[in-house]
């Protein structure tokens, strides 16, 4: 399913992977997270080869498309959940939970139950949960794609701030070109079946970025053009159906 994907992610960078749906992005994330084994090739995080058996050597945080919080636990207990699993001492865990809730702007909401929060806030809790284990690598699987555009936009902005404040390495999977361009230090465009690197673009626009930056627009335009050409090539010899028809 995935073939010839050879990427090195620098520590502290924010790499986004942009690909058409069904190109094996979820499989890739599962393999990186040590839930599926690779059939050939090798995945290493921080010098440790990842496989289903050796997965405990590196810490990986995950943010999903949906918040996936436990509705019967308070916000605080939700963020705490993976910390308990790692046997973090009680007061250290308390401190960390509060720190990361503050970081995502929900310091006051620790005692709320998730169902009383809005979708955007729930997703922030999920982000705090992913960060609280202080992971070597944070995997984000289209975390903003289920939110309305205004909320998503605000969260993207905050996401880059938080990422810069914590200095984590982030792997961000998305199918939103603008989002990928806006967020990442480097983006990878992959093709579907087999999943191969199509483009590898470094985005040298300094942070903090504004979504309306012309440089970002230029990159977005270029990537979009290329992406559509790639899709058309993949869908065979049919006459070019322009996007937006």
């Amino acid at each position: 399913m995935i073939d010839g994907l050879n990427v090195a992610v620098e520590r502290g960078s924010l790499l986004s992977i942009l690909g058409p749906s069904g190109c094996g992005k979820s499989t890739l994330l599962n393999m990186i997270n040590g839930l599926d084994d690779v059939t050939s090739g090798r995945i290493a995080v921080g010098g440790h080869t990842v496989s289903v058996r050796s997965r405990s050597a590196v810490r990986i945080g995950v943010v999903f498309q949906e918040p996936r919080l436990l509705p019967w636990r308070t916000v605080r207990d939700n963020v705490r959940l993976p910390l308990d699993e790692l046997d973090v001492p009680r007061d250290e865990a308390d401190r960390r939970v509060q720190r990361y809730l503050d970081l995502v702007g929900l310091g006051e909401f620790g005692d709320y139950y998730p169902l009383r929060l809005s979708g955007g806030m729930q997703q922030r809790v999920a982000l705090a949960r992913g960060l609280a284990i202080e992971p070597d690598l944070l995997l984000a699987d289209e975390p903003f794609s289920a939110l309305d555009e205004i909320t998503a936009r605000k969260l993207r902005q905050e996401f880059t701030d938080i990422w810069r404040a914590t200095g984590r390495t982030v792997l961000f999977v998305t199918h939103n070109i603008r989002e990928a361009v806006f967020l990442s230090t480097r983006m990878l465009v992959v093709t579907a079946r087999p999943c191969t690197t199509h483009m590898d673009i470094a985005i040298d626009v300094p942070y903090p970025r504004v979504p309306e930056d012309d440089r970002l627009f230029e990159i977005e335009k270029q990537v979009t053009r290329d992406f559509i050409r790639m899709e058309e090539a993949a869908s065979g010899d049919r006459p070019a159906e322009r996007a937006g028809v």
Binding site: R68, L70, E85, P114
Partner: protein, 124 residues
């Protein structure tokens, strides 16, 4: 208790698998997944099953007393009914009802309310 078993079966079928996947993504141990992610999701179904089982058990106990035993509410009901003493029959029925209501409102309802306190209520 096939009804209870069926209820539990439904409960297990209704488990939100995305939460289990979340647990696996964070590398929870099997026992943690069971304790922290599976059991809490089954609890509402367990409560419903328990309530049903309790009602059924009371009914059966009363009928058994009525037919075959020489003490208990069922026996008293049958005895006074045989003597055409409606006052006693109604008194025993009333007492029986009160006991059941007490169990419902003092034990079951508060427990259920506490266990499902995370659900936003209609008012807010």
């Amino acid at each position: 208790m096939p009804a209870v078993a069926i209820n539990m079966w439904q409960g297990v079928k209704a488990i939100d698998l995305s939460l289990i996947r979340m647990g696996r993504a964070f590398h929870f141990s099997r026992s943690s997944i069971l304790r922290k992610l599976v059991v809490p999701q089954v609890i509402p179904f367990l409560l419903a099953a328990l309530r049903y089982a309790l009602g059924l058990a009371w009914k059966i106990a009363t009928v058994v007393e009525l037919i075959g035993l020489s003490s208990g509410v069922g026996y008293q009901l049958g005895y006074w009914f045989g003597l055409f003493n409606m006052t006693q029959v109604l008194a025993w029925t009333l007492m029986f009802t009160i006991v059941l209501l007490l169990i419902e409102f003092v034990i079951l309802k508060p427990t259920e309310h506490w266990l499902t306190r995370w659900r936003p209520s209609m008012q807010n």
